[in-house]
Amino acid sequence: MVKEKAYYLSVFGVDEALLAMLVREALSRGGNYGDLFFENTLYGNLVLRDGAVTTGGSHVDFGVGVRVLDGEKTGYAYSESTSRADMMACAKAASAIAGGMPMAVDSPTRAAFRGVPNPEADRYPVKEQWTSRSMDSFLPFLREVDAEIRSRDSRVEKLTAVLSFQETDVLMYNSLGELKWETRPMGNVNVSVVFRQGTRVENNSVSRSWRMGAEMLGPSLIADIASAAVRGLDARFQAGRPKGGRMSVVMGAGSSGILLHEAMGHAFEADFNRKGISIFADKMGQKICSEDITIVDDGTLVGNRGALNYDDEGVPGQRTVMVDRGVLSSYLHDRISAAHYGVAPTGNGRRESFRYAPIPRMRATYMESGKANPADLVAEVKHGIFVDEFANGQVKIGEGDFTFYVKAGYLIENGRLTMPIKDINIIGNGPVALRDIVAVGNDLALDPLTWTCGKEQSVPVSCGIPTVLVKSLTVGGE
């Protein structure tokens, strides 16, 4: 969503002359690049619990971050006030990183993105602004979610549904004289359900998230959430754990994209590689996996949770091919790492809020479809598991060891899905797992869940993958 420039200058109470003066102050003790990141976020939330919407609220987060780069070193400070005096003090604090005379802006990778925001090219067009709606207009949506889920399964004992949304006005200015602005929307629905069957209790949670306005709330979303909330419930009550150990793992299309995010994506973030501590630090241009595999990090998907018109350094959002038919073709860059490698930044400089300096982060990370029939991948496995619901993941960058937690899946015996399984962790090594992907399905799906990446700061991301067969991973069990 893009409004007129004057709106953003007014929200933050600044003009372009003041912006230029602040950057000059920030660079007064040295450094070769400086930028300002203004943010005004309004959050709203409503909670339905025990059949009634009895909790709600709103939250305002407002401020400006000032960054100074002295080569690859960073000085950073922020202020929750945009008064001239507070911002000047902030610029002075950020300037502490540098100790000499200002240097010329000499890096071509920092000087390539002039031009004003284009509403025609907006990746999150909004039909209905969240903040234009009265809070009480959202109550029926939550009540209908509650009723629809309860109508689909009588085992519902407790249900909590949360609608949260935000609209973030952003204004960015840098020492190259570039001024960028936009408004970023986000809508999230999270539902947690507790089911009882006799004496057994099971839970399930469902989330949906898009960079959209309030138009995302409607009958199709209610049906989708209700369907997901009760999906596989009989299996969940029957589920057990497999005997643990190394085995083949078929990862279902969609949320199995967590494999890419944890096992590969973080290791492709260029800050780790610039510092030489990623396991892929010396692999650029090399074949690292099957030529059936192409992995993309994409900020251009309209309405996607990971979509960006601009990253948080004012670099245009873009589609970055990290692995091109098996060959490592690009890291994910912010301005610092791009300058280090002598390439253009890829629009991955992101931050949680004005309180943080940007670092390379993923957006929507997915693997392109392959040629295999997904059903054939299961049929190929003599002993293994099929998984397609996940809770969370983690990676150790240096070693490349990753894990992800499986909420639900099935044992595979002699090419057939048999016993339902749940609540197991899977562990593997990123480069090894990438090499061990032996088949890629033709069914790429992007996952609509509320994925949030927590590398130092929290940012919204999404992921996707076609069904893939990983030859061997270690699976938790009893």
Partner: protein, 442 residues
């Protein structure tokens, strides 16, 4: 602190239709210096302020916050917030805590003894000096015996935080503290090219407690120790969990005792109050009022006074953590919002993890977790683990890519020994632990 502004907002809300109000005012100042490979790489300064306002209006409730602390802006914010609350459904259980439960001995913020006046003496040069002491990069060549240091990252930070809670029935509670934190992380390469990473950290409210030189050396030692890992077959093992990471196994138990989880039946301990769920040797107490100890708090987020209380007593579940609202919904007596500074009592005579290994003989020493999660309704869990295989009470070799899977009730019933080495820098005082018969997948 903008205490007068908070009082003004409180009065303004009452004048504009709120029947009760609670305001929490926070202010935090943090300075940080980061070191990369022996050189200053990052400096940052931050000042955060926020005003949180809980509004009770016509039997309805809402929670709001803003960091725009100008008077006119806040008045408009509060006016809109009251309008929002009026749109919600009634909830008869929303109310302020009874006066008798509220804290009365937290007037200055200094009562918990967590404020170091030395914080006011810290300047930019001191921070850089402390941060540089977290680096061994100058000794790199001498240190590299059988490995190469690829990267060293360190951070020093200091924080001053202040919080005030007020309500419309006369509550005034304040908590002030300082915090000094250090961390160093290494990534090294073994001769065969395999990479290993490790870290160490420390924290205290008192600057004099922080020792940057030993932090860096311990971080490097912990990294180098991981080299040359070997596999172990999957199966049932005795397990010793180091005090650095042992709280990971207790946190889900505390979450299961939390009011919202219990009331929503999303807890494997939902109907277990007063029952002996855990073993006789498991006793957990909450000690929130130990002055000068990390995590000490005199009141919870509602302003309710904390108190020393048993959580699990010889295996019996003694309390749920119930705030005023959840207790009302459940028809139970309220306690406090959450655990504060729990301590697991020692079992046996072992002082630390080494003595636990000697007592246990053979098994897996867990020094860190890699991912994993648990099912809050059933207590089932599965975690990635890293550490060492030990035999004859001594470490034999590192292990890697292992998983530990089970159920929390079953796991804690296999608790055999608890050492007495909880780290002073941690809020949860959980020493090294020894369990028998744990499922390890390899």
């Amino acid at each position: 602190m903008e205490i007068e502004l908070a009082r003004h907002c409180l009065e303004f809300a009452l004048r504009n239709g709120a029947t009760a109000v609670r305001i929490t005012l926070n202010k935090t100042v943090t300075d940080l210096v980061g070191i990369l490979n022996g050189e200053v790489d990052k400096v940052s300064h931050s000042l955060d302020r926020s005003l949180q306002i809980a509004l009770f209006v016509d039997g309805r409730y809402g929670a709001f916050s803003s960091n725009r602390l100008e008077k006119e802006e806040l008045e408009e914010f509060v006016r809109k917030a009251i309008g929002t609350v009026r749109m919600l459904e009634e909830d008869k259980f929303r109310r302020l805590p009874e006066a008798g439960r509220k804290v009365k001995d937290a007037m200055t913020g200094m009562e918990p003894g967590l404020y170091d006046p030395a914080s006011s003496e810290v300047d930019e040069a001191f921070r850089r000096d402390m941060a540089l002491k977290l680096s061994l990069w100058k000794e790199k060549e001498a240190l590299e015996k059988g490995f190469t240091i690829l990267g060293e990252e360190s951070e020093y930070s200091d924080t001053v935080s202040d919080m005030v809670v007020l309500d419309s029935e006369g509550l005034f509670a304040r908590h002030s503290e300082t915090s000094f934190e250090i961390v160093t992380e290494y990534t090294i390469a073994a001769p065969d090219g395999r990479l290993f990473s490790g870290y160490w950290w420390d924290a205290s409210w008192r600057l004099a407690d922080i020792d940057p030189e030993s932090c860096a050396r311990k971080a490097l030692d912990r990294t180098v120790e991981q080299m040359n890992p070997l596999g172990v077959p999957g199966g049932k093992y005795n397990v010793v969990v180091d005090s650095e990471c042992a709280s990971r196994l207790l946190s889900p138990v505390l979450s299961a005792l939390g009011g919202f989880a219990v009331q929503q039946k999303n807890s494997f301990l939902a109907d277990k109050l007063g029952e002996k769920v855990f073993p006789e040797n498991m006793t957990l107490v909450d000690l929130p009022r130990e002055a000068g100890r990390m995590g000490a708090r005199l009141f919870d987020s509602e302003g309710v006074a904390t108190r020393e209380m048993p959580v699990i007593d010889h295996g019996v579940v003694k309390t749920f953590f119930l705030n005023t609202y959840i207790a009302g919904k459940m028809g139970m007596e309220p306690t406090v919002e959450d655990s504060t500074r729990v301590r697991l009592m020692p079992v046996g005579e072992c002082k630390n993890g080494d003595e636990l290994m000697a007592a246990v003989g053979e098994g897996i020493l867990i020094t860190g977790f890699n991912g994993g999660n648990s099912n809050s309704a059933t207590g089932d869990f599965s975690y990635g683990i890293e550490g060492f295989f030990f035999q004859g009470g001594r470490i034999v070799h590192p292990v890697r890519e292992l998983l530990m899977t089970g159920n929390f009730v079953s796991l804690w019933n296999e608790l055999s020994l608890v050492a007495d080495d909880a780290r002073p820098c941690m809020e949860k005082q959980i020493p090294s632990l020894a369990f028998g018969s744990v499922d390890i997948s390899a």
